[in-house]
């Protein structure tokens, strides 16, 4: 396992007093970039450790399996920037994975045709997926319930409602079109350079077709890109940072604090339910605990990305870097044949280390 404290030996080696200054500067630069360095070392490690990891195609697979973490980490980032926390994202994801399938099952017999069924199902799920977030936001902003309790309760409620809906059997009846989208690629290049969008050419066995960019990765990237823009450039984004930086100052500056909080929790739940739909498309099933273990991953991604749990800082770009660390770890371990149990341990360790490094860097600065 590459060591997170990669910068330490360098700092320790700086024995000569005349060189100490430049070494310290170097250590500080490396310290600020520790996430990147860690990611590089981690990737390098798995390139040697895992058969077939050093391959351009595994980058696609990496992004494909990482989308849920990316989406939930983005959702969590918005909430954490306001100084709050959303514990419900994982179970909102599970809830959305179930209702998206159930809605499509229910719409199917109406004879709308598959494309319309899928489209309406997705849109309705996204609308219903706003509800947990609106309730969270209402509780936090208007009833002053601590975010931890409000979203913790919502976690329970979503879990309960999900179990009630599926009644002991996982939701399975996803239309074929949806699962095709879920497992499909944007571009296929067949033998002889014939390229086709969305649908792979029919070829004989043994003929290789080049698949380029999974559909799900395309959609997720666009959505996350939009939200990165919203956080970094829009008035809403500025307000979100202001809320987390100093709530009193934000109120005095005339920011509609309650409405913004409501918006942030709704947005978080929206992204989580999008994650649920993606889960359904990818795995062709919906279950209550689909995202249960992703809560740790999402929060770890945000924290590794340098956001403070007290609010006011963090960016989508760095959060994606943090989430990438987890995605690489996940895929690397899977491909090296180690059971995924190790992942939980390592993510837990990295999460704690990230906060310690971040704190250490702040104190030195």
């Amino acid at each position: 396992m590459p060591n997170a404290n990669a910068t330490k030996p360098i700092a320790a080696r700086g024995a000569g007093p005349e060189r100490a200054g430049s070494v310290r500067a170097l250590a500080s630069i490396l310290g600020k970039r520790w996430v990147l360095i860690f990611l590089a070392l981690e990737t390098l490690y798995f390139c040697f450790k895992s058969q077939g990891f050093a391959n351009l195609n595994s980058l696609q697979i990496l992004l494909f399996y990482g989308v849920l973490v990316f989406l939930l980490a983005t959702a969590e980032l918005f909430v954490i920037v306001t100084g709050g926390i959303d514990l419900s994202v994982g179970y909102v994801l599970g809830f959305a994975s179930i209702i998206s399938i159930k809605l499509m099952e229910w719409l199917g017999p109406l004879g709308l045709g598959e494309p319309l069924t899928v489209l309406i199902g997705v849109c309705l799920t996204l609308v219903i997926g706003l509800v947990p977030g609106l309730v969270n936001g209402w509780l936090v902003a208007y009833l002053k319930v601590p975010p931890f309790i409000a979203t913790f309760s919502m976690l329970g409620v979503c879990h309960g409602v999900s179990e009630l809906i599926i009644n002991g059997v996982y939701a399975m009846g996803l239309p074929k079109l949806a699962s095709d989208i879920g497992s499909g690629y944007l571009l296929y290049v067949g033998p002889g350079g014939r390229a086709s969008l969305f649908q792979g050419p029919v070829v004989d066995r043994g003929v290789t077709v080049l698949d380029i960019v999974p559909n799900i990765v395309v959609v997720t990237s666009i959505i996350i890109g939009i939200f990165a823009f919203v956080l970094a450039r829009s008035k809403f984004g500025r307000h979100v940072y202001a809320l987390g930086g100093n709530m009193d100052a934000a109120i005095r500056a005339g920011i509609p604090v309650k409405r913004r909080l409501l918006g942030v929790y709704a947005l978080s739940s929206f992204l989580a339910s999008l994650g649920g739909i993606v889960y359904a498309f990818m795995y062709v099933s919906g279950k209550p605990d689909a995202g249960a273990s992703l809560l740790l991953d999402a929060i770890a991604g945000v924290v590794i990305g340098g956001a403070s749990m007290f609010g006011g800082s963090g960016s989508v770009g760095r959060t994606m870097l943090g989430a990438l660390i987890i995605a690489v770890l996940d895929l690397g371990l899977r491909m090296s044949g180690t059971p995924t149990f190790d992942k939980y341990i390592l993510v837990g360790v990295i999460l704690i280390l990230a906060v310690i490094i971040e704190r250490y860097m702040q104190e030195k600065a």
């Binding site: 309960g160 929060i299 906060v355």
Partner: protein, 361 residues
């Protein structure tokens, strides 16, 4: 009750002494109300057999809620209790399997495995505590990290399956009752007489599950520590105001580490007890959400996540509220999953009531 406090609490009925008392003890009132309603809606709900079953099944929940109470009073949170419990359970099972394979006598196997795991169960808390105090990592993050670590370790030990092949007498101990009575025939203590035919077990009357005195003793000891000793005073002081606690010379860091160690140890006790109850080593599934129910019980019991408030017995009552909610719904034929929803609603309700009546408890 002085006028100022009453005014803060609201007007009308809620401003009166009776109203304040009701708000202060709403969880107890809710429990009584719930018991009455379920007695009407559920057949055999109001019976000693059912109540004993509930108490017995909730042993683990009582322990975890007590653990969480200490942490919450200091203003922290421990998300790892459920997975520490699972880790303790599979670790004890693994040790027992190893000892049995080495032909260690059954008594020694159980005793040694229990002691080793109980001693080892302080480790996750020690790590969390050190990370929280020495490295200033928020408790939420530190214990979330520990949530992942202990879950991964437990799964590594058990490879994702419950662990069987343990001594047969385990569930006999964990599920025993203090008193067995066969009306007009015999009275027996701790276990039913061997001569009693197996197929007539249902005719036996059983009184007081052995787990009950165990839980009562543990809770009483913890409550005593919290309310009577210096340890408890410091715990409340830290939760009330960290600065004031520091200035008054309390060794805050050392104390907080002890709190997380205690929490982790109690989770370990719960894990070992789990083996005695089920006879197998169980890892904790994500869906079990022990930490959710433990924190919910503590909050329903009137503790504040901001720290400084909370009692062991109130948390135990919180456990009873959640337990009878589950049990009553099940007996009344309602889908058991409603309990997740109901607990979520109760949790928010508890905080909102606490907001409106901040001083009454």
């Amino acid at each position: 009750m002085d006028g100022e406090r009453a005014a803060k609490g609201g007007s009308g009925f809620l401003g009166t002494r009776a109203g304040q008392a009701l708000a202060a003890n709403w969880a107890a009132c809710f429990l009584v109300l719930m018991l009455m309603v379920f007695s009407l809606t559920g057949r055999n709900f109001l019976s000693i057999v059912n109540f004993q079953n509930v108490l017995q099944i909730q042993t683990v929940a009582f322990l975890l809620a007590a653990a969480e109470t200490f942490v919450v009073i200091t203003g922290g949170i421990d998300l790892s209790v459920g997975f520490v419990m699972g880790l303790a359970s599979v670790a004890a099972a693994k040790l027992m399997q190893i000892f049995l394979a080495g032909h260690v006598p059954v008594g020694w196997t159980i005793g040694l495995a229990t002691l080793i795991v109980l001693a080892g169960s302080v480790l996750p808390g020690l790590v969390s505590g050190v990370v929280i105090t020495k490295f200033r990592v928020p408790p939420f993050i530190a214990t979330l990290g520990m949530w992942g670590i202990t879950n991964g370790l437990a799964l590594k030990i058990c490879q994702g399956y419950p662990m069987a092949g343990l001594p047969d007498i385990l569930p006999g101990i964990g599920n025993s009752y203090l008193l067995y009575v066969h009306p007009g025939d015999f009275v027996s203590f701790f276990s039913k007489p061997d001569s009693f035919p197996y197929n007539r077990t249902r005719e036996l009357l059983r009184f007081v599950p052995s787990s009950l005195p165990f839980v009562l003793v543990v809770l009483a000891a913890l409550s005593f520590v919290l309310l009577r000793g210096r340890f408890g005073r410091h715990t409340y002081a830290i939760g009330g105001s960290m600065d004031a606690a520091l200035r008054s010379g309390i060794a805050v860091d050392a104390h907080i580490i002890k709190i997380y160690v205690l929490s982790s140890f109690l989770a370990g006790v719960a894990g070992v007890f789990n083996i005695f109850q089920t006879g197998i080593g169980n890892y904790t599934t994500f869906n079990a959400q022990y930490e959710f129910f433990a924190i919910a019980a503590v909050v329903v019991g009137g503790a504040s996540l901001a720290g400084g408030k909370g009692r062991i017995w109130n948390s135990a009552m919180g456990v009873l509220v959640l337990a009878f909610l589950e049990n009553g719904l099940a007996i009344s034929g309602v889908q058991p999953f409603y309990r997740y929803i109901a607990v979520g609603v109760l949790l928010v309700l508890a905080v909102v009531i606490d907001k409106f009546f901040p001083d009454v408890r």
